[in-house]
């Protein structure tokens, strides 16, 4: 594992450190969905926005429009409208009664407030960890910097379901850390318990800070060092340079990270379920309402959750729209970055970086330990007293287990590739058309599945396509292999779209125009000019969607069929049968698969012409 992990993390870093440079980080700079768009740069000059780009030949454009329209209509609008309409109904009549009743409940209000509060705090904590860490790894050089910089993005690969279990065995009150503290300080009882707000924030900070770390890192490596230098030479102090020059240039990356973190935290479910203690979050209330059989309440709460998430989107994008100069300002400037290679600062930075990266590895190591521990033997000891290979033997001797991996791999690959192709369709339509309202609407619609909890996406799809209807005709998706790839596609395509769209924004239009003037057809220009330039960002987004789809559970469990049983269901099933070790073993194998995919993606990225 050691040998692999080295390259794997290297590639992970490639993925995160490199791709967002043109990819994810740039998503923030794309104001297609911004309330108002501004095209002024910091120095007041107009950004190079083409006003008179001749329309692409009608037919391909029309086809694209048709594809995008149909997918959005059937995948997003129709099923979700269903949900909204249901929440607006009471005994067959239209009314706002459901909302009135729910918002009058103290408990629901409390859940809304704590959901938002947790998410805001999560954003702050993640920023507090991720941004300094990114500065550390970008600005200092020390031995094995790349390795540790890569390790810092590790929480991204911790599989859901078993990730939280690993966390409990590490940080829980009977976990390894607590037991170590107990034996050092001779404590009678566990020194802490993993419950409530601190536990939630700890877990959220751990799993979500990479958004900040990765995006800031990419932003830092891209900002114009000449500007900072100019500031210094004009007599500005370090702090002033940081706040007035460096941070403003980073704004797009920071806003993108904040948005991703906020939405992910709003939709966080397993953490509040497992160690939320008495904290009520909206996702948990939805789950409890469903369990009690109160479906209307669950639906209405879902709509509220989605509205909050999407308002955050509008809010953040409004803000980022005011800071749109990074790309223009750095045009032609050398991407130099000063690294600090000597001095005591370097030693401190190195020690801190190494220590922190090792801390981050602990949950992953815990999962590995659990997967090798003999069941029932690990009770009051710090580490398991006896080990076994039985858990791996169980899953590797099982033909169904192989099938499960194959299923997940093929479905996630299908969904990811489909999302990639679809992203190009969308991007071709909306890139550089940011002024038009319908483009904003389009971008907004695309993000809706990302803002909804997975359960809702699955249930709405199952209900919309579970019976013949006027819009779907006799087309029935429920009960077929295809339902899961479709669900994965819908849930995770927003990531790919954002990434591709941002990369396309970055491409200098002059290149395309040059191609045109040389008589190249649109497809020639696409394959020879655009595609090579946006390739790294596209691969990064696709890989992210692929990796997340591999571990998807909440939607899968409601719609999977025997022929497409995914890994997450196998893990949940082992957990239900009390085979914690086997579940952990599945998790470890899943991480190994993700590692391999990262390496393959690294290759793919380098393959661009």
């Amino acid at each position: 594992m050691c040998g692999t992990s080295l390259t794997f993390h290297h590639d992970l870093r490639m993925f995160w450190g490199y791709a967002p440079l043109v990819g994810v980080a740039q998503m923030s700079k794309h104001p297609a969905t911004v309330g108002q768009s501004r095209h002024r740069t910091s120095d007041g000059k107009a950004a190079p926005v083409s006003q008179r780009r001749p329309p692409v030949a009608l037919s391909p454009r029309l086809i694209l429009l048709l594809i995008v329209g149909v997918v959005l209509l059937y995948g997003v609008i129709y099923p979700n409208l269903h949900v909204v309409l249901q929440s607006l109904q009471r005994d067959g009549n239209w009314s706002l009664q459901n909302y009135r009743e729910i918002l009058a409940q103290r408990i629901v209000l409390k859940a809304i407030i704590s959901s938002v509060a947790i998410s805001v705090l999560t954003v702050m904590f993640c920023a507090g960890i991720g941004i300094p860490l990114a500065f550390l790894f970008e600005r200092f050089t020390f031995p094995a910097r790349r390795l540790f910089a890569t390790l810092a993005a590790l929480p991204l690969v911790l599989p859901p379901l078993v990730g939280t279990v690993a966390f409990i065995f590490l940080c829980g009150e009977s976990g390894i850390l607590a037991r170590v503290a107990q034996s050092i300080f001779h404590l009678e009882r566990a020194p802490w318990s993993l419950r409530g707000w601190p536990a939630l924030l700890l877990f959220h900070a751990y799993t979500m800070y990479p958004f900040f770390y990765v995006l800031t890192g990419a932003g830092l490596s891209r900002i114009d060092a000449a500007l900072a230098e100019a500031g210094r030479s004009l007599g500005a102090r370090r702090a002033r340079v940081l706040t007035r020059i460096v941070l403003p240039q980073l704004t797009p990356s920071l806003v993108a990270a904040a948005l991703l973190t906020f939405m992910t935290s709003m939709a966080s479910f397993s953490a509040p379920l497992l160690f939320g203690g008495g904290v009520r979050m909206l996702t948990l209330e939805i789950y409890t309402a469903r369990q009690r059989g109160d479906l209307t309440l669950a639906l209405t709460e879902t709509v509220i959750l989605a509205v909050i998430s999407l308002s955050a989107l509008v809010f953040f994008q409004r803000y980022e729209g005011t800071r749109r100069f990074a790309a223009a300002a750095m045009k032609g400037a050398a991407k130099t970055r000063r690294t600090i290679a000597t001095g005591s600062a370097r030693v401190v930075a190195m020690a801190f970086g190494v220590l922190f990266s090792l801390l981050l590895v602990l949950p992953v190591l815990t999962l590995v330990v659990v997967s090798f521990a003999r069941e029932g033997s690990w009770t009051t000891q710090t580490l398991p007293p006896s080990y076994t290979l039985a858990n791996y033997a169980r899953i590797f001797s099982d033909s169904a287990a192989r099938e499960v991996f194959l299923n997940s791999l093929s479905m996630s690959a299908l969904a990811a590739v489909a999302a990639l192709l679809w992203s190009f369709c969308v991007a071709a339509l909306i890139v550089r058309k940011r002024r038009r309202t319908w483009h904003r609407l389009l971008s907004w619609l695309i993000l809706v599945p990302w803002a909804l909890p997975g359960t809702v996406v699955a249930v709405s799809l199952a209900e919309a396509y579970g019976k013949p209807s006027s819009l779907a005709g006799s087309f029935i998706l429920v009960g077929t292999f295809w339902i899961l790839p479709v669900v994965y596609f819908l849930r995770f395509m927003p990531l790919v779209v954002r990434s591709v769209q941002a990369s396309m924004e970055q491409v200098d239009e002059a290149l395309d125009q040059a191609g045109r003037s040389l008589g190249a057809r649109w497809w020639q220009r696409f394959f020879r000019i655009t595609l090579p330039l946006v390739w790294p960002g596209a691969v990064a987004g696709t890989l992210l969607a692929f990796v997340i789809a591999l571990g998807e559970y909440v939607a899968s469990v409601l719609v999977f069929v025997p022929s497409n049983r995914p890994i997450s269901i196998a893990i949940a099933s082992e957990l239900r049968d009390f085979n914690l070790g086997a579940a952990a073993a599945y998790g470890v194998v899943l991480m190994a698969i993700i590692a391999v995919s990262m390496m393959v993606a690294g290759r793919l990225e380098r393959l661009r012409s």
Partner: protein
């Protein structure tokens, strides 16, 4: 251009992977939804296939509440043929929502009135008594609680672990029974709430699922819990966990685990055949010995069963219909007004 070729290759590769995946269609198919776990299902399916080799039997393993949600979502186009495993309360809810098809098995006379639906929508297969469980390394047998009210003793303050009752049939039954003890005389749940409030004072944590509950129990985050007997035996015998149990002296709720045909099943005849196959006395004895399921049928040769299954269970008389109808409201009250109130 290379990039484009690569893309194409990936697309082809995924298509290939996918095409290997499709299982051939067969006219004799059977799809079972079940929470009984893969090992048990595979065992029974393999045996069934030796008798009926032409049938493709598939199953989906989910929790019983997830099954209910799925069957509900699929009501317009049912996928499942057979639903094997869920508490009778869940089946009763499904029956009332018209999700089940009636079927009267050949052994219907050998099931107690209380363990079957009057309209044949479901029949009981296994019994699940609830017990008081404790960590036998940390608690001496004579000190362990012997009855429900013993769990409220202040000496267990912060030592009791309870699984979150919302998604768990066992915990719903226990909470329901505790309220019912008072509700049946008083007609209001207030005294039952009081009981749960006193329990809450002793509770160290409400865990999210049964697996974590048992882990935390042997890791001594708490020492006492309330849980069902078959699971306790699985942990004791298969996994060697240091746990022991007491039957509550004043009686305990006994859940009936059932089986039912899904309404609108596409392979109803096959479903009925499998239904009968897994409920013969041989099949029930096998499930008892290997998978710790206590049979419901009264005509089983009880000497073949593990000794613990023949222990006298003092079943608490409960009106399950009242419990089922009220438990949503009771749980909502517990959730908002009682849970974790001792921690603030």
């Amino acid at each position: 251009m290379r990039a484009a070729k690569l893309l194409l290759t990936i697309a082809c590769f995924s298509a290939l992977l996918f095409s290997c995946n499709r299982s051939g269609s067969s006219t004799n198919k059977l799809l079972i939804y079940t929470p009984h776990g893969q090992d048990m299902l595979r065992d029974f399916v393999a045996q069934y296939k030796t008798q009926h080799p032409q049938v493709t039997v598939e199953f989906l393993d989910m929790g019983s509440r997830e099954i209910l949600e799925r069957v509900r979502a699929e009501r317009n186009r049912p996928q499942a043929d057979l639903w094997w495993g869920a508490a009778h309360t869940t089946f009763q809810t499904a029956a009332e929502e018209n999700l089940l098809a009636p079927y009267r098995p050949t052994w219907n006379a050998n099931v107690p009135e209380s363990s079957r639906d009057a309209n044949d929508n479901w029949y009981g297969t296994y019994q699940t008594p609830e017990v008081i469980v404790y960590n036998s390394d940390a608690v001496k047998a004579e000190e362990a609680p012997k009855d429900w009210d013993d769990v409220l003793d202040p000496k267990w303050r912060d030592k009791v672990l309870i699984r979150n009752p919302n998604p768990s049939d066992s915990m719903r039954a226990i909470f329901g029974a505790m309220i019912w003890r008072f509700y049946k005389d008083a007609g209001t749940p207030d005294k039952g709430y009081e009981w749960l409030r006193r329990l809450d004072a002793n509770v160290h944590e409400y865990t999210a699922d049964g697996t974590l509950l048992m882990q935390k129990l042997v890791r001594r985050e708490g020492l006492i819990t309330l849980w069902n007997l078959p699971d306790v035996w699985i942990y004791k015998e298969q996994k060697g966990f240091p746990i022991a149990y007491n039957f509550p002296a004043s009686g305990t709720p006994v859940i009936t685990d059932g089986i039912a045909i899904v309404r609108g099943a596409q392979h109803e005849a096959e479903a009925k055949r499998f239904y009968e196959f897994v409920t013969t006395s041989e099949a029930l004895v096998l499930a008892a010995k290997k998978y710790y399921r206590v049979p419901v049928r009264t005509d089983i040769d009880r000497s073949q069963l593990p000794a613990w299954m023949n222990e006298k269970v003092n079943a608490m008389p409960l009106d399950w219909n009242v419990l089922r109808k009220q438990s949503g409201e009771w749980l909502r009250y517990w959730d908002t007004e009682i849970r974790d109130h001792n921690k603030q």
